[in-house]
């Protein structure tokens, strides 16, 4: 029913449930993530992993329960407060990259900064710095259509890091990549949480990938089973 609820957690969900009509997708789940911890959420397709990630990241509101980040209850936030919460505290990495097709690599990385009062030079400087870190310094002006799958995912990671998030939410980040590229992405994620202290909550159905995590949470039929 719950797993690893700790005092002093960076992110915690308490009694989280999500229901669409009669369908209960997440049932009374409680969990927490410490700062810099790498947690893997595993389970079969349709077990409620992605919904739980959406609840914890503020993309979705729970039907019941509470999500706390850094001591703040985000379930009570307004839509705009939630957007600002996501902008300032969390980063997202998706299976299908979700890059904006009309923006270059550096502009995609800088996307979360666009609504912020900041000079164009500063945005570009921060985006290029991250792309350099992702070893994409030579691809900054390319559109997503000119990038390989691995490159796209590295751009997406850079985008997720642009606002120095406390937690990264990764939903099947290697799902669309070949195994070698997937390994490289996993290496980056591991490095991020070890060297930069970024908390990571990764959803995957590949148990092999989950072995690199600090902690493994299994889900089944909307519930945490271990």
């Amino acid at each position: 029913m719950n797993s690893g609820t700790n005092n002093g957690a960076l992110l915690s969900g308490k009694g989280l449930s999500k229901q669409y009509g009669d369908l209960k997708v997440v049932r009374n789940v409680s969990l927490s993530i410490k700062a810099g911890e790498f947690v893997c959420l595993v389970g079969k397709s349709g077990c409620g992993k992605t919904t739980l990630l959406s609840l914890l990241s503020g993309l979705e509101r729970p039907s019941n329960g509470q999500v706390m980040l850094d001591g703040k209850d985000i379930t009570k936030a307004t839509e705009d407060e939630l957007a600002l919460f996501r902008r300032n505290n969390v980063g997202f990495i998706f299976q299908s990259f979700n890059l904006i097709p009309t923006l270059s690599a550096w502009e995609n990385v800088a996307l979360p900064l666009f609504p912020m009062a900041m000079s164009e030079q500063e945005r570009k400087r921060r985006a290029l710095e991250l792309l350099e870190k992702m070893e994409l310094g030579h691809r900054t002006e390319h559109l997503p259509s000119a990038l390989s799958g691995g490159e796209k995912q590295r751009v997406a990671i850079a985008r997720a890091l642009i606002n120095h998030p406390k937690v990264l939410f990764a939903d099947e980040p290697t799902g669309n990549l070949d195994s070698a590229t997937g390994d490289a992405i996993m290496e980056i994620l591991n490095k991020l949480h070890k060297e930069e202290g970024v908390g990571v909550l990764m959803v995957t159905h590949e148990v092999e990938l989950a072995k690199t995590a600090d902690r493994l949470i299994r889900m089944q039929d909307g519930e945490v089973v271990s």
Partner: protein, 416 residues
């Protein structure tokens, strides 16, 4: 709103951008050209009267004398008394009056169409001054005649000759090419108005059907305030009679019969339909474009864009697209205006303004004023077109943006 994003979206999604622009630009183009065409027709309606420096002509129909001999009035133009002229001169909106006396003179060997003109008046047939081809124009106080050039050629009349009409002699001082000057208020011979008044007053034929004193006239040319022409036309009928023939730009347009000439309201209705169709097309195209971007909007919201940020971006895109549509619509309208300016319109001159007796050669022929249509797009219309485009863009962008910004990112970002 991010300019980079806006520019890239419009440029790299050219199919979407062009689709949104084309529909609206056709609507804006139609709106502008319909109004420009309507204005051009309205201006064309002024042309026959403008040639004689007037905005309104007044004639009063009457009876035909039993015998068409000597000096008679055409049945379409009988006496307008001096008192009536004075009353008309005092009406609000009347800026000036020109007078004329039109006579048919049937001498034993020849028929004359004679028009008495006020030599110094810029309103009325004295505009012939600029059409004198030989000799000079009539001078005040002198009983002299100016002869229409083709008539003079037909009857071998030259400057310096003396012509005799109804027993009165007039030295010919000039020949005028009246066809160059005007299509209404033209005659074979022009004399000072006082001479024509004398001839009419002394004619028993005239007096038998329409009592006439030496100060009366039978043609009036009125210069009026443009916005008061319609009201004046109905007031004039109360003074000179309900059967009076009042020539106005509007009456010429009615004779022209064109859709665009019929009324401002029809043009307005057609413009409105054009713009409503264009707005619906633009709205539908943009709604489709925005719906295609649901996932993208989900990404924006996921990475921290507020609803307001999303609406702002989509609003700016929509306004720019519609602004471009406005510009493109104006270009289309300008091309259409250029093409239409080659078009010629022939405005029929009513039979009762045609001075030649119908039983004389050429008298029954329909007379037309033919001119090129001057289709121009005034700045104010162009600015209105652009402003309307921007407003449409603003409203469309705000409505669609507000709607799509409510999207839940988690719903559109679930991996396939």
């Amino acid at each position: 709103m991010n300019l980079h994003y806006l520019k890239n979206e419009l440029w790299y999604q050219r199919r979407r951008t062009i689709a949104a622009i084309v529909g609206l630009s056709i609507g804006i183009g139609l709106l502008v050209i319909l109004n420009a065409l309507s204005t051009a027709y309205r201006q064309a309606g002024h042309a026959p009267l403008k040639e004689i420096g007037a905005d309104i002509t007044v004639q009063r129909p009457g009876d035909v004398p039993k015998d068409l001999t000597g000096v008679v009035f055409p049945c379409s133009a009988v006496t307008i008394t001096d008192d009536q002229v004075k009353k008309i001169g005092g009406l609000e909106g009347v800026r000036g009056i020109g007078k004329g006396v039109l006579l048919w003179i049937f001498d034993p060997n020849r028929a004359w169409v004679v028009l008495g003109v006020e030599q110094k008046n810029t309103i009325g047939p004295a505009v012939l001054r600029s059409a004198v081809a030989e000799g000079r124009f009539l001078e005040p106080g002198k009983p002299e005649a100016l002869v229409e050039i083709s008539y003079a050629r037909q009857f071998d009349i030259k400057v310096g000759d003396t012509i005799t009409m109804a027993g009165a002699s007039f030295p010919v001082v000039g020949l005028a090419d009246a066809s160059r000057a005007a299509k209404i208020a033209i005659a074979n011979v022009y004399v000072p108005i006082e001479e024509a008044q004398k001839l009419a007053a002394g004619s028993s034929q005239v007096q038998s059907v329409s009592p006439f004193s030496a100060a009366d006239v039978n043609l009036l040319f009125i210069k009026a305030d443009q916005e008061k022409i319609t009201n004046l036309a109905s007031t004039l009928r109360t003074i000179v009679g309900q059967k009076a023939t009042i020539g106005t730009p509007e009456s010429f347009l009615k004779l022209l019969g064109s859709f665009f000439a019929l009324s401002d309201k029809l043009t307005m209705a057609a413009s409105l339909i054009a713009i409503i169709v264009a707005v619906l097309i633009a709205f539908k195209t943009m709604a489709g474009n925005i719906a295609e971007r649901a996932r993208e909007i989900g990404v924006l919201k996921a990475v921290g864009w507020t609803n307001r940020n999303v609406v702002g971006q989509l609003l700016a895109e929509s306004v720019i697209q519609c602004f471009l549509a406005g510009i493109f619509g104006l270009i289309l309208a300008a091309i259409a205006a250029y093409g239409l300016s080659f078009m010629q319109v022939s405005i029929p001159i009513p039979w009762d303004m045609s001075p030649t007796p119908h039983f004389l050669p050429g008298g029954g022929d329909q007379v037309f004023k033919t001119l090129s249509l001057s289709v121009q797009i005034p700045w104010i219309l162009a600015a209105f077109g652009i402003l309307l485009s921007v407003v449409i863009g603003g409203v469309t962008g705000a409505l669609l943006g507000r709607n799509i910004s409510k999207i839940k990112p988690s719903e559109v970002l679930r991996h396939e």
